[in-house]
């Protein structure tokens, strides 16, 4: 058996010894160096960009602006963001008519209305300087003179949707990118039946991915003359497409390679250095390298969506849920990125994993002049589940009912109708993970670690939460994954080569690919050779996101392996087969009702948190966290536990520590000394991973996606534990010490 064993990661040795090369470690002879000139202004019209002084500096090779980008736009879902900035120049034609140069749409661009000439957030890339050395590039960058006309910055979602509010982006009238409307049953009639209703307003903050490796890369022309970018990303073929679009090149003229990747978590789904490196290398016909500083990384890529919620939940006296209503709004920043998809997910998960007969959800994602927001582990589900689960915990308190019992009474089960009025995909195991998590706490109460704070002002409490999230792309988005398997040898298979584009962002995907291939081919893992993450050698894998890579790639590798074995039987040498896995189709939500089959399948998780609160300082320590996650089949149990432990810690950061502050569109936490992520000392004393293995009917060998699940419900479990300890509900994330102290004081004053 090659699966179900904790095979040491195939990249463990090179990473530990430092042999592994990350994008910033790779160099080519004759390479030039690039620096980005950032806007540092949240909203301004760019009247002119004067590059003459910078251009004249010895050693400067080129300065690119939006005028140099053939099709100056990018975006994962829609092309609505400029690669670089073209100045907005108003000029008069001979017949006296006023024209703005930047408003002339490029015929290649897909959008009728141009959006150029304006910077809409502080991390906008105005220009790219390329020079013989990094120092010259940095110095020349300071010599570029940009003439800005500052515009008022819209930095609040609520302000953005006011009638008459300044329009942030011409594509989004009313400053709304997308809204969803979900109606199931009759929500008014539902609330009329309710004995108890809980209602509250919630807010969740932005989060920075803070991956170890800030953005870096190398652009060059390969031996076939293709513009090639070595970079860290999540989807080689998507990067390739966006580069080809912006440079107006055929796809086969563009190549993307991922070396070792230092973390991603959704933060590398949208373009960072990909297009600008390709542009510079293509124009200059020589290698060009860039490395962003941590501070550039923090303003240079999107964040987790801040979200606002107003939620009502109604139940009968016995705990039966009868109605749920949620209004929610997310701050997209000025460009779409993946905001509409994240909003869709937040909508589907907005009332939690429960069977509720009457539901109304209205959601919208709004443009502002804050930093763009997009994919981040959980993709909208953590925000919604914080609210849905806190509502459930408040309901349990109001009903004086055990939170576990309340959940089990209402949990989705196979056959239940979701908010989308269609049955939950078969294999729904939310009740199972709830029971497993609860059982672990019951069976092992003695493991409670003793207090770290040990002061008379500390209080200990425990909280519970659970949740679900889609695995794979949603809402009818094209979803597939390709693999190629090549078998070498004569009478026996001596060596198998697997070609797969899937990104190993540090989660261990490549090790999983090797294990799955070995299993499918019934070969020892040593005989599997993996050629990975290069558009020149592999078909499209889709992204390493949405907890989908193990789920999708296993199907693809199994398919390719079986096809190759058939050819091997037919005596083809080498036997080579290509396979494309296409999962069951999904569909978009109906605009009026939300009716849909939005997702292929879901992952399920339940958590219990035990915290100690210092009621005098507001500091929260998480003492113990139990996470039960149904992974279907653990291909590599050690990596599964790694994902659980990492996801829990990342969730704790978002819950209690990571306070990403933007004021008037400016980032005030652009250093890791002011944006505090958990350190090794902040990890709970005990993190117990309960690996549940109920096969998913859709999964190869029963595999379920799991990478995001451990993060999903850390926040509501911790917030419930804080309530258990102190009697205070906190409705805003992160729960900073000061926020909690304020809440405690408010309660003390009113008592």
């Amino acid at each position: 058996m090659a699966i179900g064993i904790s095979l040491p990661r195939i990249d463990a040795r090179p990473k530990v010894t430092g042999e592994a090369l990350y994008p910033g470690d790779i160099n080519l002879p004759g390479q030039a160096y690039a620096k980005v000139l950032w806007s540092k202004r949240p909203h301004a019209r760019v009247r002119a960009i004067d590059t003459r002084a910078a251009q004249a500096m010895p050693g400067v090779l080129a300065i690119f602006t939006g005028d140099d980008v053939p099709v100056n736009e990018y975006g994962l879902i829609t092309f609505d963001a400029p690669v670089l900035i073209r100045p907005d120049v108003t000029y008069q034609t001979r017949d006296g008519e006023q024209h703005r140069s930047a408003s002339v749409p490029n015929p290649k661009s897909q959008n009728a209305k141009s959006f150029d000439g304006v910077v809409r957030h502080v991390g906008e890339k105005v220009a790219l300087v390329v020079a013989e050395t990094e120092q010259i590039a940095a110095h020349a960058r300071e010599l570029i003179r940009v003439e800005y006309e500052d515009l008022p910055a819209i930095t609040s979602m609520h302000e953005a949707i006011q009638p008459g509010a300044l329009q942030v982006h011409p594509h989004y009238p009313g400053n709304v990118i997308k809204h969803y409307r979900v109606r199931k049953g009759d929500v008014q009639a539902g609330f009329a039946q309710a004995d108890v209703v809980v209602e509250d307003t919630y807010f969740t903050g932005a989060q920075e991915h803070a991956y170890l490796q800030p953005e870096a890369g190398l652009g060059y022309l390969d031996e076939q003359g293709r513009v090639t970018v070595i970079v860290a990303g999540q989807w080689t073929h998507e990067d390739q497409q966006q580069i080809a679009h912006a440079l107006d090149l055929p796809l086969d003229q563009v190549r993307v390679i991922y070396p070792a990747i230092g973390g991603a978590f959704g933060g590398r789904e949208d373009m960072s250095v990909q297009i600008i490196l390709a542009l510079a290398a293509w124009k200059l016909r020589r290698p060009v390298k860039i490395i962003w500083s941590r501070e550039e990384s923090i303003i240079g890529h999107h964040k987790r969506h801040p979200m606002w919620f107003h939620a009502r939940l109604g139940a009968k006296r016995d705990g039966t849920l009868v109605a749920a209503q949620v209004r929610l709004m997310s701050d997209a920043g000025p460009y779409a990125y993946t905001s509409a998809k994240v909003l869709g997910n937040a909508t589907v998960m907005a009332v939690g994993p429960y069977d509720i007969p009457n539901v109304a959800i209205d959601s919208q994602t709004v443009v502002t002049n804050n930093l763009p927001t997009g994919a981040f582990r959980g993709f909208g589900a953590p925000q919604s589940l914080f609210v849905a689960e806190t509502q459930m915990n408040k309901l349990a308190a109001a009903l004086k009912m055990d939170p576990v019992e309340l959940r089990l009474k209402n949990a989705l089960r196979d056959g239940s109708l979701t908010v989308n009025n269609t049955p939950i995909p078969p294999g729904c195991t939310i009740a199972e993970v709830i029971q497993q998590c609860a059982a672990r706490i019951q069976s092992n109460p003695a493991s409670n670690p003793k207090s770290k704070i040990q002061n008379p002002k500390s209080r200990v409490g425990r909280g519970f939460a659970c949740g679900h999230k889609n695995v794979g792309f949603s809402f009818g988005a094209p979803e597939s994954c390709e693999a190629t398997v090549e078998l070498h040898g004569h009478t026996e298979i001596e060596r198998a080569v697997v070609y797969h584009a899937g990104a190993d962002c540090g989660q261990g995907a490549h090790t999983v690919f090797v294990q799955v291939a070995a299993q499918a081919l019934r070969l020892p893992v040593e005989k599997i050779e993996l050629v990975a993450s290069d558009t020149a050698s592999s078909g499209n894998s889709g992204s390493a996101s949405a907890s989908r890579m193990t789920f999708m790639a296993s199907h693809a590798i199994f398919g390719a392996a079986h096809a190759a074995l058939e050819k091997w039987q037919d005596e083809e040498r080498p036997a080579r087969a290509h396979y494309i896995y296409r999962p069951p189709p999904t569909s978009a939500m109906h605009p009026d009702t939300g009716a849909a089959d939005p997702n292929i399948t879901y992952g399920y998780v339940a958590q219990s948190a035990e915290v100690e609160v210092d009621t005098e300082t507001g500091q929260v320590r998480v003492l113990r966290l139990v996470c039960a996650d149904d992974v279907g089949k653990a291909i590599n149990p050690q990596q599964v536990v790694g994902q659980i432990e990492g996801g829990v810690v990342m969730g704790l950061g978002w819950t209690a520590l990571e306070n990403f502050v933007q004021r008037d569109g400016h980032v005030l936490t652009e250093h890791l000394s002011t944006y505090l992520i958990p350190s090794v000392m902040d990890i709970p004393d005990v993190v117990e991973s309960v690996v549940v293995e109920n096969p998913d009917p859709h999964g190869a060998m029963g595999i379920r996606g799991m990478a995001e699940m451990p993060l999903l419900v850390v926040a509501p479990a911790v917030v419930a534990a804080i309530h258990d300890a102190t009697g205070v509900w906190v409705n805003q994330l992160p729960v900073t010490p000061e926020r909690l102290l304020d809440a405690l004081e408010r309660v003390n004053t009113t008592q």
Partner: protein
């Protein structure tokens, strides 16, 4: 990083000459944990960086029951914390010294550098103040002593005159029934800059029921680490009771004049000055 000239003199005299010749253009480098970051980010300028780690006087680390403790300005936190005798005699100082950075930073960072950098939030300075530490300075006009509480004169500014160098820090031997403690508040558990810090020391009578004298010093609540003399005075001659401790902590809270910044609001800092002073006093009394 900005280009600079690097010098590594081996004598005090040579260093003082270099400092005198280069004036504001020169910066002293001990561990570099503050200076190198500041140079990289253009928050400080330097044409000449003088590495003082090769000067014998700045590497002294000596302790005796009779003479107390002398810490050379370039001695790393790690060296201080590794000395059992120092740990035993000055646990309240170790509270602060052990908090500065993670293991790697501990191996580089020096108390001299922490003083020289003169951050209002520096962890070691309130602890040094309550231990009656004296900064031993050398310069063109000869040696002089500056009490720790007078060493910082503003955010990032210290009392050294042009050409002067901090050589070492002298801490008197602890008197009988002396106890000290330093506590700080940070949102996470390590490697962060204090939102507020509180150092305290007490000397108790033989019976241990009366406070003979006390010092309270606060960090991150004023432009410099702050000796809250009123709080110390309020404790002197008082019995060891929760009320006395409570009142002194409230006085420290009133003495705090913090600002609101990324790490905390003024209100939170004033509140923390009270909580931390009270808790540090309880700990110091227990150690005395």
């Amino acid at each position: 990083m900005q280009p600079f000239t690097y010098a590594a003199p081996t004598s005090l005299a040579e260093t003082i000459t270099l400092l005198g010749q280069n004036g504001e253009q020169a910066r002293v480098l001990a561990g570099g944990t503050d200076l190198l970051v500041q140079l990289k980010e253009n928050r400080r300028q330097a044409a000449l960086v003088i590495d003082v780690k090769r000067i014998p006087e700045l590497n002294v680390l000596s302790y005796s029951v009779r003479d107390g403790l002398r810490i050379g300005a370039a001695v790393s936190c790690q060296r201080i914390c590794a000395e059992p005798a120092i740990r035993q005699a000055y646990p309240g100082l170790i509270d602060a010294v052990a908090l500065i950075g993670g293991a790697q930073i501990q191996g580089r960072a020096s108390l001299g550098g922490n003083l020289g950098n003169a951050s209002p939030a520096a962890d070691s300075i309130p602890a040094l103040i309550v231990h009656h530490a004296v900064c031993e300075v050398a310069g063109p006009a000869g040696p002089r002593d500056i009490p720790a509480e007078a060493f910082c004169v503003g955010p990032g500014k210290n009392a050294l005159q042009p050409g002067e160098l901090l050589v070492s820090i002298r801490i008197p031997p602890p008197p009988p029934r002396f106890g000290a403690a330093y506590l700080r508040f940070i949102p996470r558990n390590e490697m962060d800059i204090a939102v507020t810090g509180a150092g305290v020391s007490v000397v108790l009578n033989e019976a241990g029921d009366t406070i003979l004298s006390a010092r309270v010093a606060l960090g991150a609540v004023a432009p410099t680490p702050l000796l809250a003399q009123e709080a110390g005075a309020a404790l002197a001659g008082q019995p060891v009771t929760p009320d006395v401790i409570e009142q002194a902590a409230r006085i420290a809270q009133r003495a705090a004049q913090p600002i609101t910044d990324m790490r905390g609001t003024a209100a939170q800092r004033k509140h923390l000055a009270y909580v931390l002073t009270r808790r540090a006093l309880e700990q110091a009394i227990a150690r005395a």
